[in-house]
């Protein structure tokens, strides 16, 4: 008995030590197969000459990085991505907050609020393909937008919203804003509903007006949600591909070329998979900077 007891103990302790790993094994396996392996492969591809099409690719060091980073179109894509993403996130936030405050108002009855909540959330329910088709038709030179704008005398009615290089980036940004604000709205509405009424009440008793209450009570209370949402939106919007590809294809000329369309063209139009991987790695690095900010912010909150 005295000899069997320690062995049993060690067996128990071994299975205890293994146990937590076994619990996380399925998730770890999925993460490795679906995340780690593809990411490592893409990073590996970026150091080879044209992979996939070339059966025996050779290591070319940082040549692909030099080629992508010195490409003028890549610079345009970065600038366009920055404008597209910044404008989208700021507008999502402002419109989302405005609509959330309207829906949180006590001045309207619950039925009307439900109706508007349904209406406001509609754009978010459409997939990118539907949004693209819808707005391509609306913004067509012969479309509804031009007709209405001409009817009220704002434009001459022949504006080429998506086909004019000077207007195209603004137009696709507008479409992206339209399709993305409801997510902000819903999240901020939840945040607004969680603000204790006594805070506003106390501020009012202290003589604060509506604007002061907004700046000194509402905004500080919503700040954690606003920062998280803005960072997430920054990451998501920088990866927006389908909407731009289906409305303008990165054109006219390179007016709406963003990092995602640039990478896609390298891979599926030029079949330069190594260069596409390089571009993807650069996008990954940019996204990681934002992701680090997000994680740090979350950690600071916790």
């Amino acid at each position: 008995m005295s000899t069997t007891l320690p062995r049993r103990r060690s067996r128990v302790s071994l299975s205890r030590r293994v146990e937590p790993y076994a619990y996380v094994a399925p998730t770890s396996a999925l993460l490795i197969v679906l995340m780690l392996v593809p990411i490592v492969m893409v990073i590996g591809y970026s150091f080879l000459d044209n992979v996939i099409l070339n059966k025996n690719p050779e290591v070319v060091g940082f040549d692909n990085y030099v080629e992508v980073l010195t490409d003028g179109v890549f610079h345009t894509a970065i600038a366009n991505t920055f404008i597209f993403v910044t404008a989208s996130v700021v507008a999502h936030l402002v419109i989302g907050l405005a609509f959330a405050m309207m829906l949180n108002s006590t001045l309207l009855g619950p039925r009307i609020i439900s109706l508007f909540r349904g209406l406001f959330i509609l754009p978010w329910l459409f997939t990118a393909a539907i949004v693209a088709v819808l707005w391509r038709m609306l913004l067509n030179p012969n479309g509804v937008a031009n007709y209405l704008l001409a009817a009220v005398g704002i434009t001459t009615g022949d504006t080429e919203w998506l086909a004019d290089p000077a207007l195209a980036l603004g137009s696709v940004t507008f479409i992206n804003i339209w399709s993305g604000y409801p997510f902000f709205m819903i999240s901020l509405l939840a945040g607004l509903q969680g603000i204790p009424a006594d805070l506003n009440e106390a501020a009012r008793v202290d003589g604060a007006g509506p604007l002061q209450r907004f700046w000194n009570v509402t905004v500080p209370q919503l700040k954690p949600i606003i920062i998280s949402m803005a960072l997430l939106d920054f990451i998501w919007t920088s990866q927006q591909f389908a909407l731009i590809w289906m409305t303008t294809g990165g054109g006219p000329i390179i007016a709406t070329e963003v990092l995602s369309t640039y990478t896609y063209k390298l891979a599926f139009a030029k079949y330069e998979f190594a260069l596409a991987s390089t571009s993807a790695v650069l996008v990954l690095l940019l996204s990681m900077v934002l992701a680090i900010f997000y994680v740090r912010h979350q950690r600071a909150r916790d």
Binding site: S15, E19, A163, M246, T247, G249, G251, Y271
Partner: protein
């Protein structure tokens, strides 16, 4: 205590079972095989044709093949053009291409270079297939990689009502007649003279709507060695002609992001007087707007040009996967589709022209435009110099981007063509 240990053990067992099952499923999912124990061979045929034909029509032909070839069964993998393309490129990269593949001329060079599709010249010789009746074969370095099964031509479509309202008695046959007609239609104020889709997402407007003007006047964009020759007089004259139309304001607005389907829609709704388009869209136009009166004609040529006119075409091409374990059976299916009778039948139901020289589509009531197109086709020659070129779609996109700069006034014709010549040359 004991219960909790048992509970943990069963949890461990459960995790182990799930992991083992997942592994087995994953491994099983990776295995492929076209053969079966009873000697029956199953070949896969990926194409975008079946969805574009009347429902069940293509399956009917395949059923006939299976009847005539006991022991071979065909599994059709049908999808729209774009998804078929993506599927084939993914299959080519991973070495899992279906045995028989529907091909577009623009993909052939890339697949051949990748070693994804088989050398049909060798395969036909090995299996004794007679290729003397094939109207054309797409070759790379002297070896055939694609056989056009049926061809769709791109004539000029004319809205005859708009043309009559504009006071033009005859369908234009020369570039100057076309320019005058386009201007007259635009002057009506209700429509544009011509439509030019230049979307960079699908840049095939460069092939069908722009370079077709060059081919119609006997011009070429390649030199005798098949290399880019974009600075020759014919290409310069074509680009200047289209630029002139743009400057005259006769091209429908929104050209820079317009796609082929938008072009057809503009014409169908009577907002455009003339367009160059695939014959396969006749049914679609007639169904969408039965009241539209339109005619087709050969694409106008340069003034004074008397030679044969090249007419752009697109093919439903066919090829065999290099990695197929059943290449002989795959070639039998190719031979079946290229046979005189079947090829006639397929071209009739597809509103296309046959890939077998002895086949002829059936004409009849309601097919007058189709018959007229066949006359245009026979009086000229099929021309599509993008077929078989490397990264053909990207060549169009490069041309398209620079052409948009030209129309925006950022570069001159010579600068534009020199830039494209340089970027194209780098791809060859």
């Amino acid at each position: 205590m004991a219960t909790s240990t048992r509970g943990r053990r069963s949890a461990l067992k459960l995790v182990g079972t799930v992991a083992a099952t997942a592994t087995i499923l994953a491994v099983a999912g990776c295995s492929t095989g076209g053969g079966s124990a009873d000697g029956e061979v199953t070949i896969e045929f990926a194409q975008w044709w079946a969805p574009e034909l009347p429902e069940g029509a293509f399956q009917g032909l395949i059923d006939q093949f299976e009847e005539e070839n006991p022991g071979i069964s065909v599994e059709l993998i049908s999808g729209p053009y774009a998804s078929t393309k993506e599927q084939l490129f993914a299959g080519a990269a991973s070495g899992t291409m279906p045995d028989v593949v529907g091909l577009d001329g623009a993909w052939v060079s890339d697949f051949a270079q990748q070693g994804a599709i088989a050398d049909l010249t060798a395969l036909m010789a090995e299996n004794g297939m007679d290729d003397s009746k094939l109207a054309s074969q797409i070759q790379i370095d002297g070896a055939t990689y694609m056989i056009p099964v049926v061809n769709f031509v791109y004539p000029l479509f004319v809205n005859t009502d708009l043309l009559a309202q504009a006071g033009i008695a005859e369908v234009p046959s020369t570039r100057s007649e076309f320019e005058a007609a386009a201007q007259a239609i635009t002057d009506l104020g209700t429509a544009s003279g011509w439509v030019l889709p230049l979307s960079l997402e699908a840049p095939n407007g460069i092939q069908n709507d722009l370079m077709s003007w060059n081919w119609a006047s006997g011009g070429s964009m390649l030199d005798d060695g098949g290399l880019p020759d974009l600075t020759n007089d014919d290409v310069v004259s074509t680009v200047e002609f289209v630029q002139g139309l743009w400057n005259d304001g006769v091209i429908a607005p929104g050209a820079f992001t317009m796609k082929e389907q938008d072009k057809v829609e503009e014409f169908t709704n009577g907002r455009v007087g003339m367009m160059i388009d695939s014959l396969s869209h006749i049914n679609l136009i007639q169904e969408s707007n039965p009241d539209l009166n339109f005619d087709i004609a050969a694409i106008p040529a340069e003034d004074g040009y008397e030679g044969a006119r090249g007419i752009p075409y697109a093919s439903w091409g066919i090829g065999v996967a290099e990695g197929s374990e059943h290449q002989a059976e795959a070639l039998k299916l190719v031979e079946f589709l290229m046979s005189t009778e079947i090829n006639s039948e397929l071209s009739t139901i597809a509103n296309a022209f046959p890939g077998n020289v002895d086949s002829a589509p059936e004409f009849g009531e309601g097919k007058e435009l189709f018959e007229k197109a066949f006359e245009i086709y026979q009086s000229g020659y099929p021309a599509n110099e993008f077929t078989g070129l490397p990264v053909a779609e990207d060549l169009m996109r490069q041309f398209d981007t620079e052409f948009q700069k030209l129309l925006e006034g950022q570069v001159s014709v010579d600068e534009m063509l020199a830039t494209v010549q340089e970027s194209w040359s780098a791809e060859f």
